[in-house]
């Protein structure tokens, strides 16, 4: 273990999420540290996506606290913020398990929509923009420059004006990540980014994610692909039946008997069936 542990970025404390009588997440606590890639893994129905939806503001947790601290010391209680504020103020961006691009809009437009807040401010909330006044042109140039930089990085420059829905699957995944990054997040949450990718694309994804981390954005990812998780994660949290069963470096987690048991299905059969329906 590296002795000087980086400062905590996201602290999840006793997070619980109930759907009716069902506990999808039960008293989950963990810390994601700044500048690291933290992975959340676990069998199907372990509550990974639910935890994600709580952190990114799509679900309101039944109880518990989600505390995000920026490098400058500003802190946010995510469980109290409305969804769009979590992305914009707190700087938490996300992607989706089933890719959610603006399929009918072009690749470039997708990246510009992600920079909506600064662009909108530059148009004087619409009014000046219509009249052609204000500093909108400069703001738009900056936004396009940023979009271009990301297009270079994800190797989609040639398809900038193509509809996002026309891209191949792997490219859509990369575009979704680039789009999330265009919101300038401090924490990027990825919901199974490697799902459906071939080995080469998966390798490219690893490079991209490591580079994003090295550029200063921390990552939190849910992943099934153990190859990806073990290779790039700095820190792994293992969930099962909505509870944390292990927490540590890849090497520690791999050796943990609880984890082996959970993945081999030696858990309590009754509880397993109950949680199965909570995806």
């Amino acid at each position: 273990m590296n002795p000087p542990a980086p400062a905590p970025l996201l602290e999840v404390v006793d997070l619980t999420m109930r759907f009716g009588g069902l506990k999808a997440i039960d008293q989950l606590s963990f810390v994601a540290r700044r500048g690291e890639i933290t992975a959340v893994i676990g069998p199907n129905g372990a509550g990974k996506t639910t935890a994600f939806n709580c952190i990114t503001g799509f679900y309101r947790p039944s109880s518990g606290a989600l505390r995000l601290t920026h490098a400058d010391g500003r802190a946010f209680q995510l469980e109290r913020l409305p969804g769009h504020r979590i992305a914009r103020r707190a700087g938490v961006a996300r992607t989706f398990q089933n890719i959610r691009l603006f399929a009918g809009m072009t690749v470039l437009e997708n990246l510009l929509v992600a920079q909506h807040a600064p662009l909108m401010a530059a148009t004087g909330f619409g009014v000046l923009g219509v009249l052609g006044l204000g500093g909108y042109a400069a703001a738009e140039r900056r936004a396009i420059a940023k979009a271009r930089a990301w297009l270079e990085r994800i190797d989609l420059m040639a398809r900038a004006d193509a509809p996002a829905g026309a891209l191949p699957y792997g490219a859509q995944r990369r575009l979704e990540i680039a789009r999330a990054m265009c919101t300038d997040p401090v924490l990027l949450c990825l919901d199974e980014p490697a799902a459906g990718l071939n080995p080469r694309e998966s390798e490219e994804l690893n490079t991209l994610l490591l580079r994003i981390r090295d550029d200063g954005c921390s990552l939190l990812l849910i992943e099934h692909d153990m190859g990806v998780v073990m290779r790039i994660s700095d820190h792994i949290i293992v969930l099962d039946h909505g509870r944390k069963i292990s927490d540590g470096t890849p090497a520690e987690v791999r050796a943990d008997p609880h984890v082996i048991a959970a993945y081999l299905g030696e858990g309590d059969e009754g509880i397993e069936q109950e949680t199965e329906s909570v995806a």
Binding site: F58, G104, E109, M120, D161
Partner: protein, 424 residues
């Protein structure tokens, strides 16, 4: 299952169903006689309808069988159309500008009507076409604009041009007030709540007699002036005819009204085109594509919807004020759900989001029935059928392509196949 049937059997079954549908409803006409309800038989009409269904279904099945041999290239037509649209738009504008010199007063009056609907269509297009919010109560904004102008002009003595922006702003304010609670609702709930609000406005206008004069409406609404010059039957001082030493003619006013509505409609179009190329318009379209993704990007979905609602309402209100000043008289009768439905039909048939499509649809749907008088009675019937047929055949409307709002290169045309909509 149906596939397995031969076209002939299929057509026969369809005709049988048509017989069941039409024999009572068309074949037996209820009338009001002195001793209660009377029934008149109309077997020939039923026979004609059933025969039409039989032939139509047979032709459709045979045509489908034929077509299956030659796979159609999707979007071809649309793309060639869009290429042509580059010339159709300016050509239409040129025709519109010189129209008063070409046609008589009656046709120009029709032109004013068509342009009013073009403006309403463009206004609603912002809400439905760009932002993907189904507003079934657009007529409410039209009514608010019309009544605001009529009442403010009556109370304050201000002219059309001073009241116009106020009418628009009041409509926009109403849009915001209404939109704030309801825009969180899912698409179809939003549709029905806007419909309900449209009806509420009409009922209030009908019953708040002290303010709106109820069903009798408001008359004597001031006419618009050209820089203070009035259009009257005489040529005294302060009138258009007097100032330019022309013989006074009612045609002058129609020409003037025509250019006023043309200008207002073009303003709507200009603002929409500008907004589409800017963050606000772009985010409206993003909202139509995927609301959840928008939320994950830090976009405040409710306020964004609200702006679309307000901008659409503003232009609806302006169109309403124009309607009031053109008619000189308004009553709640002009603001029924059918009006909302007509404007929606124009937007949908034109191809949601397409500015040119709205013009073409308005010309066909408003101009068409007026030109073919015998059809005027069945106009709404045809509207309704057109909506259904359009959704079944070309759900994206006549012009179902979208040009990107910004491009690095030359820009591709996006056919409807990719404009998915509806994850949210």
């Amino acid at each position: 299952m149906t596939r397995a049937k031969t076209p002939l059997v299929d057509a026969f079954l369809s005709a049988l169903i048509a017989l069941g549908l039409f024999a009572p409803m068309v074949g037996l006409v209820t009338g009001v006689g002195p001793h209660g309800i009377t029934l008149t038989a109309r077997p020939r009409a039923v026979l004609a309808l059933v025969a039409a269904v039989f032939v139509g279904r047979l032709a459709l099945r045979l045509w489908q069988a034929q077509r299956r041999l030659v796979p159609a290239a999707p979007g071809r037509f649309a793309i060639s159309f869009l290429a042509a649209a580059r010339y159709i738009g300016p050509a239409l504008l040129a025709v519109a500008l010189v129209l008063p010199a070409l046609v008589g007063r009656a046709s120009l009056d029709l032109g004013v009507l068509v342009l009013t609907y073009v403006m309403l269509g463009w206004g609603l297009n912002i809400v439905v076409g760009l932002a993907g919010l189904l507003d079934l109560g657009y007529v409410a904004f039209y009514a608010v604009g019309a009544y605001s102008y009529a009442l403010i002009a009556e109370a304050s003595g201000l002219g059309f041009w001073s009241c116009l922006p106020v009418a628009g702003l009041l409509a926009a304010l109403w849009g915001v007030t209404l939109g704030f609670p309801v825009l969180r609702l899912r698409g179809d709930y939003l549709a029905i709540v806007t419909l309900a609000f449209g009806e509420i406005i009409r009922i209030v206008l009908l019953n708040w007699v002290s303010l709106t004069n109820g069903p009798n409406g408001i008359s004597g609404i001031p006419r618009p002036t050209l820089f203070g010059l009035r259009f009257t039957a005489g040529d005294g001082p302060g009138t258009f005819a007097g100032f330019f030493h022309l013989a006074p003619s009612p045609a002058q006013r129609v020409v003037f009204l025509y250019y006023v509505i043309l200008g207002l409609a073009l303003l709507t179009n200009w603002v929409t085109i500008r907004l589409r190329r800017q963050p606000l318009g772009r985010v409206w379209e993003a909202l139509r594509e995927d609301e959840i993704a928008c939320r994950s990007l830090g976009i405040n979905v409710t306020t964004t919807k609200l702006t679309a609602f307000a901008v659409g309402a503003f232009f609806g209100g302006i169109a309403g004020a124009f309607f009031a000043t053109r008619q000189g008289f308004i009553s709640p009768e002009s603001f029924t759900f059918m009006e909302s439905a007509t404007v929606l039909a124009i937007v949908v048939l034109g191809g949601m989001g397409s500015q040119l499509g709205v013009v073409l649809a308005a010309v066909v749907m408003i101009g068409g029935p007026e030109l073919f008088r015998p059809l005027a009675d069945d106009r709404m019937l045809i509207f309704g059928l057109a909506l259904v047929v359009m959704m079944v055949l070309r759900p994206r409307g006549l012009i179902s392509v979208r040009t990107p709002s910004i491009a690095l290169g030359k820009g591709e045309i996006i056919t409807a196949d990719f404009v998915t909509e509806g994850h949210g």
